[in-house]
Symmetry: C2
């Protein structure tokens, strides 16, 4: 079965500018070893700059983390909103949004790990901004469930709790996925979209 409303995330622009190369280097280092275990020297070396070169483009290591997490959250939110808008029914909307979200957590598992695991290390102001985007991501799925319940398609007791459980499954993909894994991101997306539908579908 094909899922025509599912979109592949656009390829990440390859780093031409120093600023792009720094962000790409930081994603690899942060996702691999965590924000605090990564040194600015590691990032600079991977981007082909001297240790001081980082500070021309980002005022601090935390600002670099913020730039990355902001990119990642906005990309995820836009993909979800687009998938939800295009879907002809709540069932299709749930299948395609969760599928897209899970696929992204596999295909871009390094970006996703920074998004999911490192954003708590942001400073207060930056973290608050990101938390606002996260609420919007939550709302995309929550709204689909609300609509599906109203139309009698879904059987859901507690919408916020179920939203959380569905997103949990998809988010956790970035924890176990890596480039060694045989299952394709597309196949993972298909499976998780299906699991989400199964989790909320009204019984015959």
């Amino acid at each position: 079965m094909s899922l025509p409303t599912r979109r592949r995330p656009p390829p990440r622009p390859s780093g031409s500018t120093a600023s792009e190369r720094l962000k790409e280097a930081a994603i690899i280092e942060f996702s691999d070893r965590g924000f605090h275990a990564t040194t600015t020297r590691d990032i600079a070396a991977r981007a082909g700059l001297s240790p001081a070169g980082v500070y021309v483009h980002f005022p601090s290591k935390e600002d670099l983390l913020y730039a990355i997490t902001l990119d990642g959250h906005l990309a995820a939110l836009e993909m979800l909103q687009e998938a939800a808008t295009d879907a002809p029914s709540p069932v299709e909307a749930l299948r395609t949004t969760v599928g897209t979200f899970a696929q992204w957590h596999a295909e871009r598992f390094q970006d996703a790990r920074v998004v999911q695991y490192e954003f708590p290390h942001l400073g207060h102001e930056h973290r608050e901004h990101i938390l606002g985007i996260r609420k919007q991501i939550n709302a995309v799925v929550s709204d689909i469930l609300t609509l599906g319940v109203a139309e009698g398609l879904f059987d859901v007791d507690d919408i916020p709790a179920t939203t959380l459980a569905i997103l949990s499954m998809a988010v956790d993909v970035c924890r176990w996925y890596d480039s060694e894994i045989k299952r394709s991101p597309e196949s993972i997306g298909n499976d998780y979209g299906e699991l989400a539908v199964r989790l909320v579908s009204a019984r015959g």
Copy 2:
């Protein structure tokens, strides 16, 4: 509906010895800020010791992380095995194991965060040992699914993938749960046990 085979995790022994107090302090600090962002001074201060006091009881910060993660993984494994053994059927076994597991991830969310998010920062040898225990945890659920499929109770395409998705939901509880949250760990355990059964049950 009551779930008689679900057990409450035993209360954590309150820290009488300095070694216990150090482990408790480290759980709080590691879960809150991560392994690398936590200093041995933070841990020592919380345990009521001088910075040097740590090294009488643990040869290094990494050894302290290992002691904590080992405790946590063994506790989780034992709870799961006990729940699985006591259950009268695969359906009940799945409900009670996943429920127990999710409940633990709420009730002991700080221990669980160290177990789930900090264990990758262990040294090679220690990490390998922990990975062995994690495989056993996986196997408890995987074996239940296999049995349930053989008995025609479950409808599961890919047992490893479904095991992963079910455990993902429960593991992720420790990411969002905290002491502010109104839902009780028991109620979360009930819900997640039910969700797991719903995910794999054969359709009428």
